[in-house]
Symmetry: C2
Subunit: 299 residues, 2 copies
Amino acid sequence: MKSHAVAAALLPLVFCAAAADPPPKPPQGSADVLAASTGSDWRPLEPANTLYLELAAGRVVIELAPAFAPEHVGNIKALVKDRYFDGLYVMRSQDNYVVQWGDPDGKRANPRAKQSLPAEYFRASEGLDFTALPDGDVYAPETGFVDGFPAARDAKAGRAWLTHCYGMVGVGRDVPPDTGSGAELYVVSGHAPRHLDRNLAVVGRVIKGMELLSALPRGTGALGFYDKPDQYVPIKSIRLAADVPAGERTALEVLKTGTPTWSAYVAARRTRREPFFVDPAGHIDICNVAVPSRPRKAP
Amino acid sequence: MKSHAVAAALLPLVFCAAAADPPPKPPQGSADVLAASTGSDWRPLEPANTLYLELAAGRVVIELAPAFAPEHVGNIKALVKDRYFDGLYVMRSQDNYVVQWGDPDGKRANPRAKQSLPAEYFRASEGLDFTALPDGDVYAPETGFVDGFPAARDAKAGRAWLTHCYGMVGVGRDVPPDTGSGAELYVVSGHAPRHLDRNLAVVGRVIKGMELLSALPRGTGALGFYDKPDQYVPIKSIRLAADVPAGERTALEVLKTGTPTWSAYVAARRTRREPFFVDPAGHIDICNVAVPSRPRKAP
């Protein structure tokens, strides 16, 4: 008798329109859109812009966004090249906010990374392939996607920035804006803290393995920091995928965000046609779109 | 050198305005607003509308919202009175979505609860003390708070409903809308799935202990259900606070959401004056306001 309840909200059921002449195109669920996609609707992750955060529990795959924070991304690559993060820790998990990792003691040297960087909290909106969403936004004049990353745009001010959606990775910093080097990183693990937009450098997005970070025990110290060193979660290593032997890489592809397939996917997410929904929203928030990824099929 | 980074974003620092004559009221951080609040700015949780979900790891305190789903709340109270949930399980944790509990086998009898209920997915907007937010919303014509619960309103249609923000509790159901009895409940554990608004009966909000649910391991079955019974998280009991001896209750109070203190709190959350913020948002989403609660002070 008892059901899987809310579960049904995500089941890939298809709403079948009544037959007619000419037959109307049946409304599609997002799973149908993805099932009907072709190989060219997807792009592989570039090894030169992909990080592997290795924990005892498994691998977290992060796609970097150099188009938005080139200096920060460059610094993170330099830190990773120097194996800066290996043996450091996840030291914070604040419920409904962020998980954070780096050097709890702030003592590890990172001589090859720049210690001060420009505040890359937004960039020029010109030159971006921005695929807008139609429903407006509470925080920004416009939201949409740039090459798979959730973003916002203020065309009047000529600025664009990545939005702090679930799974987005940013660079921690102290109070002065030039104090984030990339040696301390966080990932959003709760409802999008959009008030952080344009106040921190957002450098990427977790593509796979988010649950290895989001389900960590919450820290009981102030702001979710772990109280005791034995609560820290060790980082085995962080590597650029390009520096990992090809056979050890996680081959993933991400749905392209500027195609007809993408438009159909967004439409299906905006207005859920599955029978479960008695009153489909007909709107969607930037952080509820969820850009799909999947194992890359062999060519 | 290394800082607590994003941490600073939540530190209760005060921005001090330059002196002037007449002295301008200094902008306040939300922590200042709460520190300056008086006892009458808070209301205690009513034992008759508070549930204690007891897990081995501790107690989760849920405030019920009978004003929005009276029949569902009544049924849940009947189930709890009959100790329906005792010995059942949390059986689902889907990353960035919901945690769900009830009877995985759907076999436990609940004869005193109604098996079919009206679809209380919205109610008349009339008669509600609705404190609106100023920034609009992607999903609804208007959002705000009703007695501490995040809500939305469509004045034209004369409807109001609770919004699926982090920590909100709803009633799972099968595909037909009258199949949710309250015997299966879920809590939002990720970015607000607002597409569920007006499609499910929302019955309350977790006030304390959310991390006992949100940090549970993610289920590896479809939709985050636990694959194997040994992964289920046992529920020791669910009780109405009124049925628990006074000395064993968790005395909590919640900030009232229709007062000048509330307005000041929202203003401080909309525009962060702490020095960390170089570009305060000046806007706020219904699910980012976070209604404060705290241990109730002895009278």
